[in-house]
């Protein structure tokens, strides 16, 4: 078990992410904070690459480091940020307490994470998941519905009797293909629900931005 280049890359990115996130917390100027946050996110994107999640890594950099951070920076532009010096709390017993508790939290999380690495389970046989794969098969092989149905039935029986077969169905696809397949089958509902969520977020943000506040009994008061 030699140390591979990936390991070294991990350590570099991990170091960058850690230092960056510490700086996010301790930089007084929010603009710097946002810069370091972008750095952390990019580093994480790098780690995603290391973890063979290229598509996710790309999305991470585009969506997070790009879009979301821009949003943050933009909002910061709106605010008048002259009172940065007061931003960080001075050292008080409460600060101490906070650090102690967060340290404890950190200890538990890291400790359990470090010690429990071997405890990852293989995914259980999930008939629903297999069904989703079958549906893919069904859609890629347009034959007569009747025979398909017959085939499907056969396949279902086969898979049920041989659980390992379910895993093998995936092996022909690339990661991104697998992602898309799953996204639109197994997680289709969540995906659709997300669209609603985004709509709500948009409408909500707009409504909030438009709202003028103040109590008005149906009257429209000029802002």
């Amino acid at each position: 078990m030699d140390i591979t280049p990936q390991d070294i890359v991990f350590h570099i990115f991990a170091g960058v992410a850690t230092v960056g996130s510490i700086l996010v917390v301790f930089m007084a100027n929010p603009i710097y904070c946002s810069f370091f946050l972008a750095l952390v996110m990019s580093a994480l994107g790098g780690l995603f690459f290391v973890l063979d999640a290229a598509f996710v890594a790309a999305a991470q950099i585009i969506v997070y480091a790009g879009a979301v951070m821009v949003l943050f920076v933009m909002v910061m532009m709106i605010f008048d940020l002259k009172k940065d010096s007061e931003d960080l709390t001075g050292f008080s017993p409460m600060t101490f307490l906070k650090i102690v508790f967060v340290g404890a939290l950190c200890g538990v999380l890291m400790g359990v994470g470090w010690l429990a690495s071997g405890a990852t389970a293989t995914p259980p046989v999930d008939l629903n998941e297999q069904k989703s794969v079958m549906i893919k098969n069904l859609s890629t092989a347009p034959t007569s519905a009747v025979t398909d149905a017959e085939d499907l039935k056969k396949e279902v029986v086969e898979i049920t009797q041989n659980p390992q077969a379910g895993k093998d169905i995936f092996k022909d696809y690339s990661d991104t293909q697998k992602l898309s397949l799953k996204l639109f089958s197994k997680f289709v509902f969540a995906f659709e629900a997300l669209s609603v969520l985004l709509l709500v977020a948009i409408v909500g943000s707009v409504a909030l931005a438009k709202s003028r506040g103040g109590t008005h009994h149906g009257l429209k008061r000029p802002s």
């Binding site: 409460m94 307490l97 906070k98 508790f101 967060v102 404890a104 939290l105 538990v108 359990v112």
Partner: protein
């Protein structure tokens, strides 16, 4: 059946009188005669019934008792008490005394209360008293007796406090009731003992039982002791006598009827009723005798120097009651009953006489302001002399026989003792002294009546009862002439025989010579004392001050009744009141209530404290979340390992 009816009328007639006078007759001055007539009629009807009932008991083939059952009162579990009454030899005598003397006093009151604003109320109470007293003596079981027992106490309370706008008089009534209550509590405990031991409180059932003599302090002794405690309350014995002198605050007829003739003798009656139990408990008997003797001497000694005419008579009553207890204590129940009767006559007479004096003196009661009234109030004077002679034990007057019987029994009875006899003699001597002093200061000697008071003789309604009672004071004792004298005249002592069936007398053992000697001793000593007093208070009155000065301390103590009232006030009363105040202000308010407050303040304070956690700082809230998270994690993970 006729027994039932007669007893019914006997009882209900005073009750009816009470109801009519209490609710129908207008409460004003003018109704005095009407109310008095109604009440007197009611009691007279009772007297007639009582007389008929009594007569039916006479004769050889007469029934030993007449029972009458009205209805069941309490019947719970094993306990049963009926509204049932019995007239037998003992209660027969009692009802005669009660209704007889009662009627006379009712009659007397018509005159006495003629100027009172609320005579109807007075007569109503008087009738109610008669009713309760009759229940007491006629009751066929102990609990019903207790009904009358408390009932008479209640009437006593009402009548003592009759002129309630005087705080002292109201207080005296209350004192009487409460002191009586102490005795009553004892009585009821005694009753419980009796019931626990014998499963019944019916007199006839109890009397049929046989009792093993309890020489120690077993439950039977306790039972009788507690009953005796009840008796000391009602009959004003040491230590519960204190209410009786104060009870003189009531109208004088009340003093005569309730606090001399009838109610106060209830204790004697009760003990005689249960004589078969009492004789089985020699320890109790001894205590009774001692208490009686002590009370007789003690009260007489207080009576020596009192100046209030009614107070003197009151202490005299306490003293005489002591004699009765001495009698029953040595097992001479019939002698006790005998003295009860004679005392009822002469003491009622004296009280009424005193009432007549007070009436004539316009409510003046201090004998130092009297003197020489013999001329102004001849009838009162003559009748009073009868009473005086009776009480000091002048031979052949009623008091002589009964008192001597008691003294002789205390001397000779196996339950008696020489010391008891000696105390009796001492008491008798003192009685002679202070009664003579009373006579001397009131009726004889020079007049010391203030100028603005013009004493006058009382009206006829008042003097007739006096005359009747005077006669009775003379002849009342002749039913129980002792053998040594009776043999001379060939008269049989019917009294003891009469009681033979109901009362368990303890036989006296002594020779006639001893009896004659003791009798002589007491007569001589009493005579000397009386003479001494007469001389002192009529002839040598001016030397008195010197004597007083010589013994000023002793005189003061005695004059202030040995400060017993003050001692009681300072100890028991104060203890109770202070205790109550302490319980309230400390235990109730400071401890119990404060604890409640403390708890609620604690909870509310904790709440306000915890609310400080919600201080508006959102990071603080986040810290709580972290705290909770870490806490839960550590608790679970650390405990797991």
């Amino acid at each position: 059946m006729s027994g039932n009816l007669l007893i019914g009328i006997l009882l209900l007639s005073p009750l009816l009188g009470f109801l009519i006078n209490g609710f129908l007759v207008k409460q004003n001055n003018k109704s005095s005669v009407r109310a008095g007539c109604i009440a007197t009629a009611a009691s007279t009807v009772s007297f007639i019934c009582a007389a008929i009932l009594f007569c039916s008991l006479l004769g050889h083939d007469a029934p030993p008792s007449i029972r009458s059952y009205f209805f069941n009162w309490i019947n719970v579990g094993d306990f049963r008490s009926d509204m049932a009454f019995v007239v037998d030899h003992i209660s027969g005598i009692m009802i005669m005394i009660i209704t007889g003397v009662g009627s006379l006093i009712h009659l007397y009151s018509v005159g006495y209360m003629s100027h009172d604003p609320k005579p109807a109320k007075f007569f109503a109470y008087l009738n109610l008293f008669l009713f309760n007293m009759l229940i007491l003596v006629l009751a066929d079981n102990l609990l019903l007796l207790f009904v009358g027992w408390e009932g008479v106490g209640l009437c006593s309370y009402l009548l003592i406090g009759f002129w309630f706008s005087d705080p002292k008089k109201a207080a005296a009534g209350m004192k009487a009731f409460i002191v009586n209550r102490i005795g009553d509590a004892g009585f009821i405990i005694g009753l419980f003992f009796i019931f626990m031991l014998f499963k019944t409180v019916q007199f006839d059932e109890l009397s049929k039982l046989t009792y093993a003599v309890d020489v120690g302090w077993g439950p039977l002794t306790l039972a009788t002791l507690f009953l005796f405690l009840g008796a000391t309350g009602k009959s004003a014995q040491i230590p519960l006598y204190v209410w009786l002198p104060d009870a003189m605050a009531g109208p004088t007829p009340v003093s005569a009827l309730i606090h001399a003739a009838t109610m106060v003798t209830a204790g004697i009656y009760m003990i005689c009723r249960l004589s078969f139990i009492f004789v089985a408990t020699p320890n109790t008997m001894f205590i009774i005798a001692c208490t009686g003797a002590l009370t007789a001497v003690f009260a007489a000694s207080i009576g020596l120097f009192q100046n209030d005419i009614k107070k003197i008579l009151a202490y005299s009553t306490v003293s005489q009651l002591g004699y009765m207890f001495l009698g029953v204590g040595v097992g001479a129940f019939s002698a006790g009953m005998f003295h009860l009767m004679t005392h009822a006559f002469f003491k009622a007479l004296m009280f009424l006489g005193a009432g007549s004096v007070i009436h004539g003196m316009h409510e003046e009661q201090d004998i130092r302001k009297m003197g020489g009234l013999a001329k102004k109030m001849p009838i009162t004077h003559i009748t009073f002399i009868f009473g005086w002679l009776a009480i000091i034990g002048t031979p052949f007057f009623s008091g002589f026989f009964s008192k001597d019987e008691i003294l002789w029994r205390s001397f000779a009875s196996p339950m008696g003792a020489k010391l008891l006899w000696l105390a009796g003699i001492l008491g008798a001597t003192m009685t002679a002294f202070y009664m003579t002093r009373l006579m001397a200061l009131t009726f004889w000697g020079k007049s010391r009546v203030p100028k603005d008071i013009h004493p006058h003789e009382s009206p006829l309604t008042m003097t007739i009862p006096l005359i009747v009672l005077a006669a009775l004071s003379l002849v009342g004792g002749w039913v129980g002439i002792p053998e040594i004298i009776g043999n001379i005249f060939g008269i049989h002592n019917g009294w003891e025989h009469w009681f033979h069936e109901v009362v368990v007398d303890v036989e006296a053992h002594g020779s006639h010579l001893e009896e004659a000697l003791t009798m002589l001793t007491s007569v001589v000593l009493a005579g000397c004392a009386a003479f001494g007093a007469y001389v002192l208070y009529t002839k040598k009155a001016e030397q008195l001050d010197g004597v007083k000065a010589k013994f000023s301390k002793l005189y003061k103590i005695i004059y202030n009744k040995y400060y017993i009232d003050e001692i009681y006030e300072g100890t028991f009363v104060q203890a109770v009141v202070r205790g109550g105040k302490w319980l309230w202000s400390f235990i109730d308010v400071k401890v119990v209530d404060r604890t409640t407050y403390l708890l609620s303040d604690l909870v509310r304070g904790a709440g306000n404290g915890i609310r400080l956690m919600v201080n508006g700082n959102v990071q603080q809230y986040a810290l709580y979340i972290v705290f909770g998270l870490v806490g839960v994690m550590i608790l679970i993970l650390a405990r797991a390992s």
